[in-house]
């Protein structure tokens, strides 16, 4: 969802990892051979050769996440989930009776590597699908290239909407899916007056546009609103303004490390006893780990997936994950969406009977359901976003999420704030672009 972390990006090192450069070498050699073959034998000879190669061997797929650099706090767990999902699909017999072979790319928290690896994946005819990218900026670096090379991309993170690409599927919840349940819950259980504190960049503005319209629709009122630059960590004036406005609820659309200080200073003024914080972003940056339990206790968040979900599918998912990666930290929403991405793709491929991208996209758009760790999910054709359950959870005094409510099968938004809508099965069926929200 957020591009903020990218601005902190300093990159671990500029060297390319040994495996990556080897990959590149192999790639170049293969390209040269292939190019030579085409020149020598013409396309007629090339086509049956490729078809033959696809029959017996594994289906190649790829993932790119930041395994090093300062975004690896998100990337490592997503890559773990990706390997785990592919292994588990292989153990269950693969896809169309063929095993999957996962190519992994470490993007090193560097945007330019997303473009480069996307190019590499794009020029490898064997690769049938990609699950990857974390920030919106990284997605927009890779997506146009993958799309041009007709590669399907599953993006696991929550985001503000606007993606409108026939070959891209957005797994995470959007603003509407997260904020509507939060606001409805707060209206019913806490109070009708809201103060909005939001990060002053694209996500914060789009999220706030949704917050405003949802509060108005629910009959609540907004008693204050402030956009806060990403590099601010002194919230003295904001906290004074919140006290003057006296809301029942604070909606926090704050993002990034500096903004974590808001929750700390809010608690230091002991406002957490009298004002309820709800947030669609809290937890993305492991806020509950950075803050102490008494500062976070009671904050209400909404995500599709929580590790504490009590379903047989989630138990199997978590047990298997812990067995494969015993030392990995908490499992937030995105790794579960990575798992969903691979399984939804598998379901679609089996329905289509082929890995051909047009057929797979059509199968996904038809909305074949898949019951995963977060519950039932299926693709909403026009928006290429998941219809999914959204769970509300409260943070307890042990840094854990206690799930207390569930909204079943919440539909994503097909509208982009201030910029029309995206309909990938209708008017935008040939679209490969990002619609910039306006606010």
């Amino acid at each position: 969802m957020s591009d903020t972390k990218a601005k902190d990006d300093v990159g671990a090192s500029s060297r390319i990892s040994a495996s990556a450069s080897e990959e590149l070498r192999k790639q170049t050699r293969r390209d040269v051979i292939r190019a030579g073959g085409v020149i020598a034998g013409g396309a007629l000879l090339g086509a049956p050769m490729r078809a033959f190669a696809q029959k017996g061997g594994p289906i190649e797929v790829a993932s790119m996440f930041d395994l090093t650099g300062n975004l690896n706090i998100y990337g490592v767990q997503c890559m773990n989930a990706s390997k785990y999902a592919v292994d588990s699909i292989n153990r269950d017999g693969g896809v169309l009776g063929r095993q999957l072979k996962l190519h992994t790319y470490d993007t090193q928290s560097k945007i330019e590597l997303y473009s480069r690896y996307a190019q590499e994946i794009g020029s490898n005819d064997g690769i049938a699908a990609v699950v990857g990218c974390f920030t919106g900026a990284s997605r927009e670096a890779a997506r146009p290239i993958l799309s041009r090379h007709r590669k399907i991309l599953f993006f696991p993170t929550i985001d503000e909407g606007g993606e409108c690409d026939k070959f891209t599927f957005m797994q995470g919840t959007d603003c509407l899916q997260q904020e509507a349940p939060l606001i409805n819950w707060a209206m019913k259980n806490v109070g009708k007056t809201f103060y909005i504190a939001a990060a002053d960049y694209v996500y914060g503005h789009v999220a706030t546009a949704w917050t405003k319209s949802l509060i108005a629709k629910a009959g609540g009122s907004i008693v204050g609103l402030e956009f806060i630059p990403l590099d601010v960590s002194d919230f003295g004036s904001t906290i004074r303004k919140i006290q003057t406005a006296g809301p029942a609820v604070v909606m926090s659309n704050l993002v990034g490390n500096n903004h974590i200080a808001f929750y700390r200073q809010f608690a230091a003024a002991e406002l957490n006893n009298s004002i309820q914080i709800i947030s669609p972003t809290f937890g993305l940056g492991n806020e509950q780990e950075v803050l102490s339990p008494k500062e976070t206790k009671g904050i209400v968040v909404a995500y599709s997936y929580f590790e504490t979900l009590d379903t047989p599918q989630n138990k199997a998912f978590v047990d298997g994950f812990r067995k494969a990666y015993p030392n990995a930290g908490p499992i937030p929403d995105a790794p579960a969406q990575v798992w969903n991405g691979w399984h939804q793709w598998k379901t679609a491929v089996e329905k289509a009977g082929s890995t051909d991208i047009d057929k797979v996209v059509a199968a996904l758009e038809s909305g074949t359901p898949y019951v995963g760790p977060s519950g039932n999910v299926y693709t909403d054709g026009p928006s290429h976003r998941n219809v999914q359950d959204v769970h509300l959870a409260r943070i307890n005094d042990q840094r854990q999420y206690e799930i207390f409510a569930k909204e079943s099968q919440v539909k994503p938004s097909r509208d982009v704030v201030g910029a029309g809508s995206c309909d990938l099965t209708g008017k935008d069926r040939k679209s490969h672009r990002m619609i910039q929200p306006k606010f």
Partner: protein, 289 residues
């Protein structure tokens, strides 16, 4: 009434934070003519010292805050001996480049050791009720008192101690001081260590009110530079006056408008001041401290 008192406290906090994060930079620049681009990283080291001591060794938070300047000073001494020493007397740009490199190195070491999210510590001391408002005692009362105490302490160090006298002498005329028997190498290393200690202490004091991450210092360093430049040649009095002015303006404007305008006002004021007072606020002061 309540609101006014809360705004006053909030202004005090903003000014105190500016004073705290600027002092170390001001001492090193004022006495050594070195622009320490790694200043923010020394602030960050102090902050990480506090949360590490509290989290892993269960130090009381106050003791941890007092340890923070020692750790920063120690690292400062190593940096001075290895990298800064050969630069004395060289152009300002050379020191700028070297300390910028130090900043990048220290930042990346912190990322490697602590990652990008580390468990922090809660703000101590609880809250004070003022009418319908409540404010954090730590940031509204303790931080301003700490800033006042620190400025007083520095004043005494530079006025009443032998080191203070020698440091000022070296700053004024290094060659003459040397000719009179001042061992300038020792004075320089002490001054650099003192500056780093002050940065570390400010990081330690800020640790309980922010989320500590390797980029912590970078958020304050621009404001600190602005304050020191606006303050002018009298590094102690100038820094205090500049902090008071810029902090008050920034905070009041954020209270009336938004935080964004507050920061804008801070930078605008600094720009206008430097335009009309190129020697800084203390340029015309007679005291050179």
């Amino acid at each position: 009434m309540g609101a006014t008192v809360v705004v006053v406290f909030s202004v005090l906090t903003s000014v105190a934070i500016l004073v705290l994060v600027s002092l170390g930079l001001a001492v090193i620049f004022g006495l050594m003519r070195i622009v320490n681009m790694a200043h923010g990283e020394f602030v960050m080291i102090g902050a990480f010292t506090v949360i590490t001591l509290v989290q892993t060794l269960s130090f009381p938070v106050w003791l941890a805050i007092l340890t923070a300047p020692l750790v920063s000073a120690l690292i400062g001494v190593v940096v001075e001996m290895l990298l800064i020493r050969p630069l004395y007397g060289r152009r300002l740009v050379d020191t700028l480049l070297v300390t910028f490199g130090v900043s990048l190195i220290l930042f990346q070491i912190a990322v490697n050791i602590f990652g990008t999210t580390s468990p922090g510590i809660a703000t101590p001391l609880g809250a004070l009720k003022i009418g319908t408002y409540s404010v954090s005692i730590y940031s509204s009362i303790f931080l301003p008192l700490a800033a006042i105490g620190l400025v007083g302490l520095l004043y005494l160090i530079f006025k009443r101690t032998r080191y203070g006298l020698l440091a000022r002498a070296t700053a004024q005329n290094a060659e003459m001081a040397s000719a009179l028997g001042v061992y300038s190498r020792r004075v320089n290393i002490s001054t650099f260590a003192l500056g780093c200690a002050l940065a570390g202490l400010s990081g330690g004091l800020l640790a309980p009110i922010v989320a500590v991450s390797p980029s912590l210092g970078q958020n304050y360093v621009a404001q600190a530079f602005m304050t020191v430049v606006t303050g002018g040649p009298a590094f102690l009095v100038g820094t205090v006056v500049a902090s008071a002015l810029l902090g008050t303006i920034a905070n009041i404007v954020s209270q009336v408008f938004t935080t964004l305008w507050g920061i804008t006002a801070l930078f605008l004021t600094a720009m206008v001041l430097i335009r009309f007072l190129p020697n800084g606020l203390s340029g015309s002061f007679r005291k050179q401290l």
